[in-house]
């Protein structure tokens, strides 16, 4: 087999499979499956009663991909761009198409800036970010953190040690920025 023309045989027959597995072969006909054919013309089947949807009001300028002719008729309005992360995000959208690595790498960089900005801003509120509660890390104690991981053949143990660094990164960065700002001010005074 394999090095000759026949397909390696299975050990189970059709009847055995039908007996062992409820519903075996219920969708046997490849043409009679819900996503076949891949493109199927079904306007009217979707519930849409418009050719083109009415337009949602653009209450504030909405960033969009330069690969779109206009703003789409419907869009999400959560978390509008703001701060330095907003400047980077709007630039990434305005300047680079989705085809450019710069577009995505700038957006990822803006995400990191957003996290630092948001952590700093939270300290001026009644609800500062709390890394202990927000990471849910206390569930390590109540949900078998040790026995879920060790003595098992898990492949992720070689990299989970990096996670605390990823989590603490923005905090260390923010602390560093704060520290040097304070240093700069006190130095100027002395």
């Amino acid at each position: 087999m394999t090095y000759t023309a026949d397909k390696p045989p299975h050990t189970e027959t059709r009847e055995e499979l039908q007996r062992r597995i409820p519903g075996w072969g219920a969708d046997l006909d490849p043409r009679d499956r819900p996503s076949v054919p891949r493109e199927r013309h079904d306007t009217g089947a979707t519930g849409a009663h418009w050719d083109f949807p009415e337009r949602q009001e653009e209450k504030r300028p909405r960033e969009r991909s330069v690969e779109h002719r206009t703003l789409t008729p419907v869009f999400g309005t959560v978390a509008p761009t703001h701060g330095l992360s907003g400047v980077i995000r709007r630039y990434a959208y305005r300047k680079y198409s989705e085809a450019r690595a710069a577009h995505w790498l700038l957006l990822v960089a803006a995400d990191r800036v957003d996290a630092v900005e948001s952590h700093l801003r939270s300290f001026a509120t009644t609800r500062p970010d709390n890394p202990i509660t927000e990471t849910g890390v206390l569930s390590e104690f109540t949900r078998h953190g040790i026995s879920s991981r060790f003595g098992r053949k898990r492949a992720d143990l070689n990299h989970i040690w990096i996670d605390p660094i990823v989590v603490a990164g923005p905090w260390l960065l923010a602390g560093g920025v704060l520290y040097s700002a304070v240093r700069a001010v006190t130095k100027r005074r002395s």
Binding site: P34, E54, A79, A115, T135, A155, I162
Partner: protein
């Protein structure tokens, strides 16, 4: 209202957030009764998806009760119990008209290469998700369906993504009777893919993971043959060996961007975010498929490039098929399969957690603690 809110990588909390409002005449506001955490949420949670903003509420798997409808809504009214596909889609654009609901062109200004998804970053349209007490549902006449009376709530919840996606993954494999099907990943999506492969006539279904408790589920729930890749020096060679050195006719990647098994891929993708995803499982899929075979990819990858072994796929003449799942297209058939008793999706739910404790919910699911497979979130107002 109370809502889960993203605070940066690995950090979420529950906040008081403004109630969503009708922003378009075909919007509805839905009071969420059950939501779930999906493997896809982990890509956001770990900060891998570009343009994931602090302040966003995640959650693209949810069911609920219609609270309010916009003036042009015809098919739903206040009080209807609805299940909402994870896709936000218009039902009328070029792509929707062809059944490609997950590739809608009218709902995502941020990207043309992605459709709209609830609570899934601005790259997927900037919509808030359903891990909250209330959620805005655009195109209420298109996406949601009233939950049939006979259907179990949690079955309905799993139909909004995981089950539909797993079933779709098996379809993308173009399985023919007697095919050997390998599924990488024994998470909710992989378990449902394995189960669905039998419905399409597979002769042998093999599931690969490194979490023994999930492999056990694959044996019991999905009647599959299983192997823990951490026990083998090279899982691809093992798969060749057990298929008489032919390879599998169909391989399904139900792992996606956070695949384990290769430290460098993990480091560059999930930690440093320099790849759209760690393609370890995808590469194994390419290498363990037989020449001329099909690789179906339902595991999700981000828009940044990934180090995929494209040359092997090319030289082997593989067919690569993939997409976000067009959920509602799967529903009528899946409803039948559930009614006939062929599928019982809620069997995979392991954890039910109040919305207020969602940070623990994320940690447990992300770190795979406590033999977690699928986590259901119960909002306080449910």
């Amino acid at each position: 209202m109370r809502a889960m809110v993203y605070r940066g990588p690995y950090k979420v909390r529950v906040e008081e957030k403004d109630m969503p409002v009708i922003e378009h005449p075909n919007d509805a506001i839905v009071r969420v009764t059950r939501a779930a955490i999906c493997g896809s949420d982990l890509h956001l949670y770990h900060g891998m998806m570009p343009d994931t903003r602090v302040g966003m509420t995640f959650g693209h798997e949810f069911i609920g009760v219609v609270e309010e409808v916009g003036p042009s809504v015809q098919n739903l009214s206040r009080g209807d119990r609805v299940m909402v596909p994870f896709n936000v889609y218009c039902g009328s654009c070029y792509f929707c008209a062809r059944g490609l609901y997950s590739n809608c062109h009218n709902v995502n200004p941020n990207a043309t290469a992605v459709g709209g998804i609830y609570g899934y970053s601005h790259t997927c349209g900037g919509y808030d998700g359903g891990q909250a007490e209330f959620v805005r549902v655009p195109f209420a006449d298109v996406g949601p369906s009233v939950i049939p009376d006979w259907m179990d709530e949690e079955d309905a919840l799993l139909l909004t993504d995981a089950l539909a996606t797993g079933y779709f993954g098996a379809q993308l494999g173009d399985i023919a009777e007697g095919d050997t099907v390998v599924v990488f990943g024994a998470g909710p999506v992989g378990l449902f893919s394995a189960k669905s492969a039998w419905l399409m006539g597979a002769g042998r279904v093999i599931v690969i993971d490194h979490l023994d408790y999930r492999l056990e589920k694959a044996r019991i729930f999905a009647n599959a043959e299983t192997y823990n890749f951490a026990e083998y020096h090279d899982i691809v060679v093992h798969l060749k060996r057990i298929t008489d050195f032919l390879g599998a006719d169909v391989v399904i990647d139900a792992v996606g961007a956070e695949a384990d098994g290769n430290f460098t891929q993990q480091l560059t993708a999930t930690k440093l975010k320099l790849q759209g995803g760690s393609p370890t499982a995808l590469n194994w899929a390419i290498d363990s498929a037989r020449k001329g075979g099909t690789v179906s990819v339902v595991g999700a990858y981000g828009p940044i490039f990934s180090a995929v072994k494209f040359g092997d796929a090319f030289n082997k003449g593989l067919t690569l098929r993939m997409n976000q799942c067009p959920v509602k297209r799967q529903w009528p058939r899946l409803f039948e399969h559930i009614q006939n008793g062929y599928l019982k999706p809620s069997d995979i739910v392991t954890h039910r957690i109040p919305l207020e404790h969602i940070a623990e919910g994320y940690h447990i699911f992300s770190a795979k603690l406590d033999d977690c497979i699928k986590t259901v979130i119960v909002p306080s107002a449910a």
